[in-house]
Structure formats: C-alpha cells, structure tokens
Subunit: 439 residues, 2 copies
C-alpha cells in the first residue's frame, strides 16, 4: 500500500486488488452470475435453505472471498487464504457448526472477571483444551489459554510481554530473530510501529548477542521444515509459532510443551475471516502481560468470533468422538490431509513434467494422531527454479499470471517463492496446469 511495512513490498490489498481487477475483466460474466446466484440464493446449502425458510431478508449478505477463477485468470497464491476448507464445512460437519447469536447476547466487554484473560469465552477455552487433548499436538494442562484477534495479535502480545519495560528508556530494544527462511510478516509486524521495546534483528543463525526473542515456526512458514530453537543463550527466550502443527500438514510427533505457543483457527479449521488465534502460556506473569497488550490494543477479542470458533472446534472434536468411522465428511483432519496429499501429488507431478523447478523433499514421520507413518504436506510450497537465467522467480511466475511471494521477503534469494497450497480446488488446478507447461 502507500506505506511499506518493513520488508513487505505489496500488502494484501494491493496484491488482491490487482487480482480483482484482472479477474473481473477476464471472467465469463454469465458464469459469474450463475455462481453468485448459487452462492447467495441458498438453494444448494443448508445455511441458505434455513435462511430462506425463515423468510429472513438477505440485505446483509455475507462476502464470499476472492472472485472465482477461470482458466485465463490471474491466480493469486500469495496469501495462505484457506478457502480449501470451505468444501468440508459445506458438508455434514457444517450444519453442526452453524451458530445462532441472539441480539442481546454477549454485549459486555467481560467474559469472566476472575480469569487473567477476562475477555476469554469459557466455551472457547474448553474446546481449545479438548482439541489439543484429541490431537495431542500440545500440552494445554497447566497452561494459561489466551485468545487473540488471530495469532498475529498474539505474536505482538508476546513481543510486548517478553521485552523489558525499560528497554525503550535504556535505548536498547529487544532483538527479535528467526532463522532464514522466516515468515515474511515477522519483520514487518515487529517493526511497523518503530517500537522502542523491540526491533527486528534478522536471521537467528547469524545473530550475535545474548538477549533476544527467537521466533520458532514449526512446521516452518515458508518451507515446511520441522524446527527447534537455534539459539540457546540463558537470557534469550523463544516464542513457538505452531500455526501449522496439525495432522493435515505434518506428522504429530510429540505434544509440544514450550513456554509460549501460538495457534490460529485460520490454518487449523480454515476460518481465516473469523480472525481468531489462541496462545498457550506457561508463566502467569507472561500471560498477564500478553493480556495487557490485547487490552490496550483492542480491549479484548470479538466474542462473536469466539463463540463461532468454539462451535467449530466442537464440531471437529465431535466428528472424532461421536462418529469415528464415518469417513472424511465428518473428520476434518482426515479430509484436509487427503486434500493436501492429492495437491502435493499433483504439484510434484507438474514439477517433474516441467523440469525447471524443485521442491523440498517429503519428510515422513510416525504420527501419534494418525497412528501410522505419514509424509508431511506443508501448507505452502517453497518452489525453487533451477533455470540459470531466472533470478526473480516471483516476476517470472507473474508473467504466467501466478502471484506468489518472492524469497527475498523471507530472507532468502529470488530464485525461490512461497506458494499457498490452501486455495480453492479451481485455483489450485489452474496453477498446477501452468506449472506443468513451463519449460
């Protein structure tokens, strides 16, 4: 946008705006009309039917994300917009995740005045703990649960909580580091307010200091690598971003039990628009300070989102507890794993067919949730071009109407890009076809 936030050059709106303009010109308008009628008239889905039966006016129609694609469209895989999951929630599980909120409900700022996180809905906390018990990906017992407006807000809350309050006065902001390739938002979000409390200090592997916050993203965004903290100083602290530590993306090898662990509904259930994340925090004082950040930043977190997320997490756990043998239609992680496996298979075939690209190796492991050895299917493809003359793969792909995120934004080189594997079936299929055709 107008003001670059750190190293992010584009911004979601600018990128998506371009897509919108191109798509709206390129699209077959008749097909769009049919698509929109199907989306909004409610003649093919449970939620829509219910609304029609109740005779409710549709004046407050919800949005439906990015415009639909055609074979000529620009395909925007820059962001990890998890629209792949919509298919699951339109099925049997979706009906159970429907939420009804009466006009008088949860009007107060407060949810539980006795909780450190006084704006945390008890039902949401309960379902978070239940889901971690079911999946076994993190220890929740003995941890404080905090809720945030996406894990992005909780990430900032952790920086605030773990930086010494006197850092600004001393002119010594806390150094924030992560090993290359790191999630492109880390530097942008750390530095956009030029805080005196903390500042981005780059690659953890080349960091030379004793005091720091290391961001450990595992499996890693962008390259899917399984990670542990690389720095081990006694005065440094780690924040574990476990947004992708779910069975559809990676084998669950142990219940993580780090000091600060961040999760988000976006990448677990696919509900990015709900903007809901949670943190598991071991230390009470750190939890209090993180909560203070959210209190000052947004005076709490949408209760509507919390209630909805609670229903969604409940539907996931119920899908396993109540109907374990019914198949993928009620089992989210099985549904998503099958999708990811198919997509990675298609992408690897396209890369082989093309001959000019390479991908990270498949990493198999024993998954305690699936109770078998499975491969990892990361949410992003870290795609490298082996052609000597291609220095700027992001630009090269853009010529083929594929929008990706270039390696430089992750601290890496320009011959590599990050590609979202979580978009719609239609967009993903066109992307794969184009990759296969590139020689």
């Amino acid at each position: 946008m107008v003001m670059g936030g750190g190293r992010e050059s584009g911004g979601m709106a600018a990128q998506a705006g371009k897509l919108g303009v191109v798509a709206s010109v390129a699209i077959n308008l008749a097909a769009l009309a049919v698509y929109l009628r199907r989306r909004y008239s409610g003649d093919d889905v449970a939620g829509g039917r219910k609304r029609e039966e109740e005779g409710e006016e549709l004046a407050v129609a919800p949005s439906s994300g990015k415009p639909p694609v055609t074979p000529d469209s620009v395909i925007n895989l820059d962001h990890g917009d998890p629209t792949m999951y919509e298919q699951f929630w339109r099925g049997d599980a979706g009906e159970r995740a429907t939420i009804v909120i009466p006009g008088w409900q949860t009007m107060s700022y407060f949810s539980d005045v006795g909780n450190i996180c006084w704006f945390l809905e008890a039902g949401f906390e309960r379902e978070v703990r239940r889901l971690h018990r079911l999946v076994g990906n993190a220890v929740a017992e003995g941890y404080h649960v905090l809720v945030g407006t996406g894990s992005t807000q909780l990430f900032q809350a952790a920086l605030y909580a773990l930086s010494p309050p006197g850092a600004a006065a001393a002119g010594a902001p806390m150094s924030v580091v992560s090993p290359v390739p790191y999630y492109s938002s880390y530097p942008a979000v750390t530095d956009f307010l030029k805080s005196g409390l903390y500042r981005w200090a780059g690659d953890a592997r080349t960091f030379d200091g004793e005091t720091y916050i290391e961001l450990v993203c595992s499996p890693n965004n962008p390259d899917g690598g399984v990670r542990e903290a690389v720095l081990k100083s006694g005065t440094g602290v780690a924040v574990h971003d476990l947004a992708y530590y779910w069975p559809q993306y990676t084998p669950i090898t142990e219940a993580a039990a780090h000091d600060v662990m961040l999760f988000t509904a976006s990448k677990c259930t696919g509900h990015a628009g709900t903007r809901l994340g949670w943190a598991l925090v071991k230390d009470r004082v750190v939890a209090q300070r993180m909560n203070k950040f959210i209190e000052l930043n947004t005076i709490g977190v949408s209760k509507d989102s919390q209630l909805r997320a609670a229903k969604i997490l409940k539907a996931i756990s119920d899908g396993y507890d109540h109907a374990p043998a019914v198949g993928d239609r009620t089992r989210l992680f099985h549904f998503a794993r099958r999708k990811m496996m198919a997509r990675w298979g298609a992408l690897r075939a396209a890369v082989a067919s093309s001959g000019i690209f390479s991908l990270p190796d498949e990493l198999p492991g024993y998954c305690t949730f699936a109770k078998e050895t499975v491969a990892a299917y990361p949410p992003f493809a870290w795609l490298r071009c082996e052609k000597e003359e291609v220095y700027d793969l992001e630009g090269y792909l853009r010529e083929c109407k594929i929008v990706s995120r270039g390696g430089a934004k992750f601290g890496a080189d320009g011959r590599v890009v990050r590609i979202s594997m979580l978009d719609t079936d239609e967009a993903f299929a066109i992307f794969v076809d184009r990759i296969a055709a590139m020689k």
Copy 2:
C-alpha cells in the same frame, strides 16, 4: 496488571477481578443459581427458545458479563460497560437482530478485493452509511468507511497514518495531544509500545508546537462537554472521536464532516463484546495508511462481528423506517434516551440529597434527529466532591464499595471521578442509593 500502560494504573482485569472476587463471595448463591438457569436455559428469551427447539447442545454457552449485583456488592462503574442496552435487545428488536452463521461462511481473509478496506463486509458498510443518513450525525457520503476491532484499533490506525513515516528515523515522534480532561486511554494506548512514530504530549491547551495530532472527543469522555479542536496550526491535524455523538447522549446539532471520524458499536448499540468500530475518512491516502495498520496489526477484522453488527444496525434503522410510531420497544435511540434521562434524573436527585457532590450543568440544544430541544445525558457522570477534606474521591468512593475512575487519569485533579451511566439497572440503582446516603 503487571506492566502499567502509560498512566493507567489499574487495568480492566485487575479492577474487574477485584469485583469478581468480592461479588462471588457476597452474592446469595440461591439467587445466582436461579439467575444462571434463567440466563442459560433459554426459557424466557427468543434466542434461547429457538436453540431449544432445534435440540442444539448448550455446551458452548455464552458468557453473560460481570456477575449480577446485590445491595452489598461492590459496584464497578469504572468502565463504560454498556449493559444497559441488553434490555432493549431482549425485546422485540432483539429477534430481528438475531444472526445465523453457517459453518462454511466468510472463511476467506478477503471481503472485497476492490475496496481499500479489503476486509470490510459490504453489508456492514451499507448499514453504517444508512444509519448516519437516518441519524444525521455525520456525513458519510464522499467518505471512505473503514472497519476496526473497536474504535481503539482505529484510533491507533489514525496515529500511524497521520505520523510521518520518517518520524522515528529523525528522532522526532509526532506529538499526540487532547485538552484536559481527556479520555484516560489516550495516553496509555499512545505510549504503551514506545513507538518512534508518535508519543503522548499531554494537554492540548498547554501544548507549544506546530506539528501535532489533536484528539477531539465530542461529546467528551469523561465530562460530556461539546468540543471543537482547540489547536489551529496549519501543520496540525485532528482526529474526531465521535463515539458518543448519538441522540441518546446529546442533541444532534449538525452532520459532522471532519477529516477522520471514529465511531463504535459499543456506545451506539451497546454491543461492546462484538468489538467493532468504524471510521469515516475523507482522504484516500490516509484511509489506505489506516487500513495498512489494521492489516499489519490483525490482518483484518472479524467478519462474524461485522455480519452481526450489520444485522444490529439494520434492526435499528428498520425500527425507525418500518415502525416509526410503535414506541420505544423498536426504537433504540428513544429507548436509550428515556433510560439516560431517568438515570440522570435519579443521579441529580441523589446528589442534591447528599449535598457533598456536584455535576456538570445540563446542556440543552435543538436536536435535528428528535426535532425538538433536548438536554444532553452523557454516558459518564463527571462527579466532583465539594467536601474540603476529600482529595482522593476515587478512594473515598471505594470505601463505599463504588469503583470509579479518578480524575488524575484524565489529566484532572483527584476531587473528581468518572462514573459509567451505562451499567445494568440493578447496579445503577444501588450506586444512586449509596450516593444519596453519603453526607
């Protein structure tokens, strides 16, 4: 909490936590059980009935705000928790504001890729513009509408947008000022991250400089005064916080048309837990930069909250458009105005009966919405103690189990406090009784 944010000494959790502990001890447990059963069993309200009929499990029960009060309770009027409005939404209007969100809906990050505010739900924007046309309190035509996680986030977005990007590098953060008494959160929220872009510079009336952001809150929190910018330098800019410029609190005297205007559902409709605010912004570049802040801070705003707020605003406008003569049960501003008038009447009578307090004078004016001359009924009482020996009114009231916010937090003296006028009928009645008895 642990880490004081600027001048705020307590923090919501600490204050409310104290209340919770005391209340949970003091309360009659049998009464609480009845209260909770009535709240959660759904046998007295439309939303509850619907859920029961559908046979939905109630495992994800919503919270109900602060604990109910008894005559012995600590009465916490520190925050403007607008639970007064719940009564309205439990009535006829509430049924029309009920929202149903199917599991598959609004999963994407994006709402409209062609909009500057690409995460803004079109239905919410439409209802915002419609409500301003109905009330006539602000010009929306020709303005960009932005959505935020409460107006608190939009306030920070405005600071970010209106501070020069090079301010930090130049070591010259933008000065943020407001005339005493100013909203206590302004200094806390401005300074908690020690941003190099902007910093709190105190009372606008004593500010000596050419470049600044002046926060103009009108009607003013805490004292209800009608305000205009006090600084007029050519290089300064104003942000108008119009959270309380609604007909229940003050006569609507003109349609405001300032460069940046902030509003929030919390104080207009009473839905604080929904955490939804909006901004009307004249300049495109400022709107883009404000949007960039929200993009970096929380990657957009809960779509569930936006959809719900759209339904709520629609119910308000429909209440006037479709049934203008039915009375207060469907007309929010009339309902709330009647409540505020009764509460201010009760408080002024109690103050007269006590003899040791004073309140700001009533300010009448012609209201273009009500089409008559009406008095102002501010959302907070700015209560002063005239007793010579009371230097710390906040502490003095606390001895009578009344939690208020002391004048020092607003840049004023300790003989004055801010009291919320928006709490439940029960809490307000006990508060008034205690004030009347203080001699």
